[in-house]
Symmetry: C2
Subunit: 355 residues, 2 copies
């Protein structure tokens, strides 16, 4: 088994170091290899996803990813910007199934901007399709507007698209995930306006008939955004496209108050996966030793479970994280009065100790 | 001056009746004409936006709109569904500028799902472009997938597009609105992924230089969704495209806890406008006399201000609505212990009395 370690930019290096520390004490048999990605790779090799990094990722069973991006790369041409690395990895490895749990940790319930009763016990799973939709659809570009409101003017355009098999496979992922939890799937679309999401709705409905034990409902994306802020606990598994999933999964993660705690997994059809925290590279606090490593440590746990077939080790990590929270240890992002403020490395050490 | 009254479906008839009652006591000089729209028009004329209704709308200075839609029309072909009426009105009248205030009424602060301190005093204005983007972009449809992950499979597709003049005019609307309030504009895009929104960002930045007194910042849509739930008061005016605006404006409206109170305006370049509540047709409570008419009454106030040049009358209505809330009157949707529960007509009557 081989794990590619891609720390990336900003706090990426610090938080991934803690996750690696945790993996090491578990004494499992795997090889690791580290490579540059994002802005760091651009600085060293002139590209955010160098050939060597992509090759390593492809050869590995799993990728532990930190975060990429920094304001200082904002002026680069789009293909050279750090976030292209993550899009390139998704595309090249076919990582179509993105798992984004939105869990409210009981110890952190008061960190949510929502009222306690609305989030306490919250546990939803957003499944976002990750290799289709308007993210990758061709054609796209700039041109002289052929028609519309201002024919002859400069315009930019993109193509949203989903094929039936793309929708089928992500629907199966969602129904199978729901079977292992609350047995409910909410498919989020905009079928009242978009052709793409009328097909989405039709296909998810069809696949749903193969899962009579799972309840399926459909919601328009605008309504889903409302229901998430009104009564998030009504959801179990939410499945949606790449663009809507980008927006809703971030909103849901933030609602929990636990965003510094939330891992994510992006899988392909061979269970090869990329594992990363739900939060970003936070360049403002990079290098200060204050970033919260727990989302990355929990991403490593997801990796053990989904790609490396080590569910017991995964559960041990999750229990250890729970233990350090119960001990009252908090990095600044989740600190509140009466708890103990710790730095990145101390938090990682505490998890190691709890193991 | 002529106002087209389009009550529509569900609670539409009831709430619009109260707004008309309020307009009448103001004793202003205007003509009104009522027409069917949405499911009601489909039942009577076989189309959600009959020629006669469209003609009336075009000839009027303003349209007071209730709501459209009902589950029972879900099985109709898309062009015959109630919501096509609203899309058709936007397109045919060129109503490109949608104003969606998200205000938290002090009397209703506890109805928000957010903690009191995060929403008390909240007053943001979302300006959504309403006639472009993926809502109307051609080509769209179903086809055999020419390439992508599954060439040869059935696929559906839509086109996202914005031309430079479309972005320019909505940017001007946003900067001018910001001048009259907090002097800050947040432009929401997804320039890191979409060509359309790279042009959006470029053009908004250019137009921004003409408004040196207004501060402009840019936010990715996923981050905007997070910041809205984390710290909504940080926003003043938010400007974005049709699709992102659909999602964010609904989320923001729900966050306030005052969604039954929030009006909206959709204007074209001649200040002709369509005015409607931010909420939907609520078929489940239609005909029971319990719907909240205040969002529609406040939409009538917006209409007086924006399209009918009657700012004093608009302010009078707004003051009257404030007064009935302070009196403790509440329809069931905003009811809480210690207040007085009233029905739709009683609420309308109370506003009339407060005038
Ligand atoms: C960095 C960006 C391209 C990316 C996305 O939009 O998918 C990010 O927001 C995410 O959700 O992983
Ligand atoms: C009914 C629907 C087509 C419409 C939209 O998506 O614009 C609605 O959600 C709105 O926001 O007015």
């Amino acid at each position: 088994m081989k794990i590619a370690i891609l720390p990336g930019d900003g706090i990426g290096t610090e938080i991934v170091a803690e996750a690696v520390k945790v993996l090491q004490v578990l004494d499992l048999k795997f090889e690791t290899e580290t490579a540059l990605v994002g802005g760091a790779a651009y600085e060293a090799h002139g590209h955010p996803l160098p050939e060597s990094t992509l090759k390593l990722a492809k050869e590995s069973d799993a990728i532990l990813f930190g975060a990429v991006g920094d304001w200082k790369y904002d002026k680069l041409d789009r293909p050279l910007r750090p976030e292209q690395a993550i899009l390139g990895l998704r595309k090249n490895l076919g990582l179509f199934a993105n798992f984004r749990p939105a869990i409210c940790y009981p110890q952190l319930v008061d960190a949510s901007s929502l009222k306690r009763e609305l989030v306490s016990g919250l546990d939803i799973l957003i499944i976002r399709e990750l290799t289709g939709d308007i993210y990758f659809g061709q054609p796209r570009g700039r041109r002289v507007s052929p028609d519309g409101h201002f024919p002859g003017a400069e315009e930019a355009f993109d193509t949203m698209r989903y094929s039936r098999p793309e929708i089928e496979r992500i629907a199966h992922v969602a129904f199978q995930a729901a079977r292992k939890r609350g047995k409910r799937v909410t498919s989020v679309d905009k079928a009242n306006v978009l052709e793409t999401f009328q097909l989405w709705k039709d296909v998810v409905t069809e696949i749903g008939t193969q899962y009579p034990d799972v309840a399926l409902d459909h919601m328009y994306v605008d309504n889903a955004a409302m229901q998430l802020v009104k009564a998030p606990k009504k959801f179990d598994v939410v499945v949606t496209g790449n663009m809507f999933g980008d927006i809703l999964s971030d909103a849901a993660a933030m609602l929990t108050g636990s965003i510094g705690m939330l891992p994510s997994a992006s899988l392909n059809d061979k269970n090869q996966g990329l594992y990363e925290p739900s939060h970003g590279s936070a360049p403002d606090i990079a290098g200060k030793g204050v970033a919260n490593p727990l989302a990355t440590i929990l991403s490593a746990a997801m990796m053990l479970r989904f790609s490396l077939n080590q569910p017991e080790a995964a559960a041990r990590i999750e229990k250890a994280v729970d233990a350090v929270l119960t001990q009252g240890l908090r990095t600044p992002d989740i600190y509140s009065e009466g708890t103990t403020k710790v730095g990145t490395a101390q938090m990682g050490d505490a998890v190691v100790k709890a193991l």
